[in-house]
């Protein structure tokens, strides 16, 4: 049997239909805006993970255990083949690739450019570094070939190099001696972003080993099928990598980027909070007006012996009904919007170019929102929470009604 007080609350909400509709629309607008921002916030996590999977960083990376503190590209894994095999054996791993890096000077004639040259496995590298697939001219490296080099357009332009040109790479060997090797430019990568293009310079892993005199690989990058599995896979990998090697997560590899993302998320949530505060004040004002209009009624209820706490509960029920209505409208309006955001994304190509680099990580300029059942829980919590907060002052005000004074004034 429905309580009479609940019926009273429900029918009171319907008394001033225009005000109720405006309140519900206000709550819904606030919720949809907050939902949109939260979807983007959650999408940022996915963007970060996507950057990890596409820009070569990897969701996880096996590195020498001293690399965490020194970040020196000359460090090499204790047993990269064992690490590679261990990574491939873990369920949920999509692709694995080994690399070595070296700081080199590239020269063509009188043109010299300092770059970080990566020695890669040509057959698997494009699976973890999507941007090398953007070959504008020529081709990518082939498995087993030697002396071939692929560079980004920005590097080629600064060297004034063209396809098949010979490029001299010079670096410092293990004992401090200068070492050089000759490469042929076989492919030019163009991503649309100079920053990104400057980060692409690759040769075969064996070629880099010969050039630097450092054997082996310095890292094994791992991309997962589902980035949310990072911690689980890492826990498993740590058990099986070679002694002297360590497993780092994407967040550990790019802490500045993660910090930047967290900062962005905090700012977005702050803005959402301000929007909700404005909505909350609007709802509080409407509810207070409703309480003031019914002052005589509350005085009568108080005279009949209704306690302050029951009166507070009455107003809170009305607020929850408004919040529920707002949540329904917000879900109805927000679901298609967030679905579109999740599937089409917000495309910043016009402002950022084909991709952009931040702290050495390459990002896609299309940001996607997150879409899932969390939306219903989020909207319900925000709408009901905001209206509950908004109702506290009007409820307190109603509970303080002095029946004798209110009835005297009403007469």
């Amino acid at each position: 049997m429905t309580m009479v007080s609940t019926k009273y609350a429900a029918r009171s909400v319907g008394r001033n239909l225009r005000r109720t509709i405006l309140s519900i629309v206000g709550i819904a607008i606030g919720c949809v805006l907050a939902l949109f921002m939260e979807s983007l916030n959650r999408g940022r996590g996915e963007l970060f993970a996507r950057a990890g999977s596409a820009s070569g960083v990897g969701h996880l990376r096996i590195v020498p255990d001293t690399w965490r503190g020194r970040r020196d590209s000359r460090l090499r894994l204790a047993d990269w083949r064992a690490d590679f095999a261990a990574a491939q054996a873990v369920p949920g791993v999509a692709s694995v690739t080994a690399r070595a890096r070296a700081q080199v000077l590239l020269a063509v004639g009188t043109h010299v450019v300092p770059v970080e040259l990566a020695g890669v496995q040509p057959d698997v590298e494009p699976r973890t570094f999507r941007y090398v697939q953007a070959i504008a001219r020529g081709r990518y490296l082939r498995a087993g070939e030697t002396g071939a080099l692929v560079a980004g357009r920005a590097i080629a332009d600064r060297l004034s190099a063209d396809l098949d040109d010979e490029i001299v790479a010079t670096t410092v060997g293990p004992r401090g001696e200068i070492q050089s090797a000759l490469f042929h430019l076989v492919g030019i990568v163009s991503t649309g972003s100079d920053d990104t293009d400057m980060a692409v310079c690759q040769v075969a892993l064996e070629d880099l080993q010969r050039l630097t005199g450092f054997p082996g690989a310095g890292e094994v990058s791992i991309v997962l099928n589902d980035y949310r599995e990072i911690d689980r896979v890492r826990a498993r990998l740590v058990q099986s990598v070679a002694r002297g090697d360590d497993v780092m997560t994407l967040s550990e590899l790019a802490p500045d980027v993660e910090g930047h993302f967290k900062q962005d998320t905090a700012v977005t949530r702050f803005v959402s909070g301000i929007i909700l505060l404005i909505v909350l004040l609007g709802v509080a004002s409407a509810q207070l007006a409703a309480v003031l209009e019914r002052r005589r009624e509350f005085a009568v209820l108080a005279a009949l012996g209704m306690s302050g706490s029951k009166m507070v509960w009455l107003i809170v029920q009305e607020a929850l009904m408004l919040g529920g209505g707002g949540a329904l409208v917000a879900v109805a309006a927000g679901l298609p919007l967030v679905w579109k955001l999740a599937h089409t994304g917000l495309d910043f190509t016009r402002y950022l170019g084909g991709s952009y680099a931040f702290q050495g990580v390459l990002f896609d300029p299309v940001v996607y929102g997150d879409f899932g059942w969390w939306i219903v829980a989020y909207v319900s919590a925000v709408a009901l929470g905001a209206t509950l907060l908004a109702s506290l002052y009007p409820a307190w005000y109603a509970a303080r009604t002095d029946p004798a004074v209110a009835l005297r004034v009403a007469q």
Partner: protein, 250 residues
């Protein structure tokens, strides 16, 4: 020798002052009154004589400025707000001049609401229906308040006041908005309820026809009890000029 029963309302030197700006307005000036269980008492007097103020004090809606006021043995002046609310809920019923029913509820829901506030169980709907039937409103139980006439609304208000069988029912000018016929009907109903259930009725009025139903008539003038007479249901002609006196100024 018959022993006089214990009074359920006992007022000794009760005064009530309201502050209006820098002025104190004395609504009651040393009221002495005793009301016993089952009495049917009319408070009469000109406007501003203190009838509503006295009803509010007996109804624990307000507290006296000075003097002693015991209602059902409880000292109103020292009760907390919560205790007064509890006293009203458990032991007092109210009927207001302007009915003051909840407009968004039906007649039955208005009655049921009080029972719900009291924490009555699932039979409260049946109890509400029974009270409405007792007052001849069974057919109107599911009507919203704005679908009822003034007389019907006031009967619903009486039903709400008596539904929980309170010890005392307080009515402030209950017939002021009713025509003669409806006023008569209401007074008959209230007397019937008193006779059947032994409830005490204390009501204020200006209406000489209503006073005629009172068993006891207490006349207030300028915040003091000017006359206190047991009429047995027939008010003496001497009271009527006091009722009809012009409102006090100031």
């Amino acid at each position: 020798m018959t022993q006089r029963p214990e009074p359920i309302v006992l007022a000794r030197g009760v005064t009530k002052a309201f502050v209006s700006g820098r002025q104190e307005v004395w609504a009651l000036r040393g009221v002495d009154l005793e009301v016993c269980a089952g009495e049917f008492v009319a408070l009469v007097g000109p406007s501003g004589s203190g009838k509503t103020t006295l009803l509010n004090l007996i109804g624990a809606l307000d507290v006296p400025t000075a003097g002693e006021l015991l209602v059902l043995g409880r000292p109103i002046a020292t009760l907390s707000k919560r205790a007064r609310a509890h006293l009203r809920l458990e032991s007092l019923g109210f009927v207001f001049q302007a009915y003051n029913l909840v407009p968004v509820l039906t007649a039955r829901e208005n009655v049921e609401f009080v029972l719900e506030l009291q924490g009555k169980g699932l039979d409260r709907r049946l109890r509400a229906q029974a009270v409405l039937a007792e007052l001849g409103l069974a057919e109107l139980a599911d009507r919203r308040i704005n679908e009822l006439s003034g007389g019907q609304q006031q009967r619903v208000a009486v039903a709400r006041a008596v539904a929980a069988r309170p010890a005392i029912v307080l009515a402030d000018e209950p017939t002021a908005n009713l025509d003669g016929e409806n006023a008569e009907t209401l007074m008959h109903l209230m007397r019937d309820l008193r006779d059947r259930h032994g409830m005490t009725f204390i009501f204020s009025t200006h209406d000489p026809r209503v006073v005629a139903h009172a068993v006891r008539v207490v006349t207030l003038v300028d915040g003091c009890v000017a006359r206190d007479e047991v009429t047995g249901g027939d008010a003496p002609a001497a009271i009527l000029p006091a009722i009809a006196a012009p409102p006090r100024r100031g």
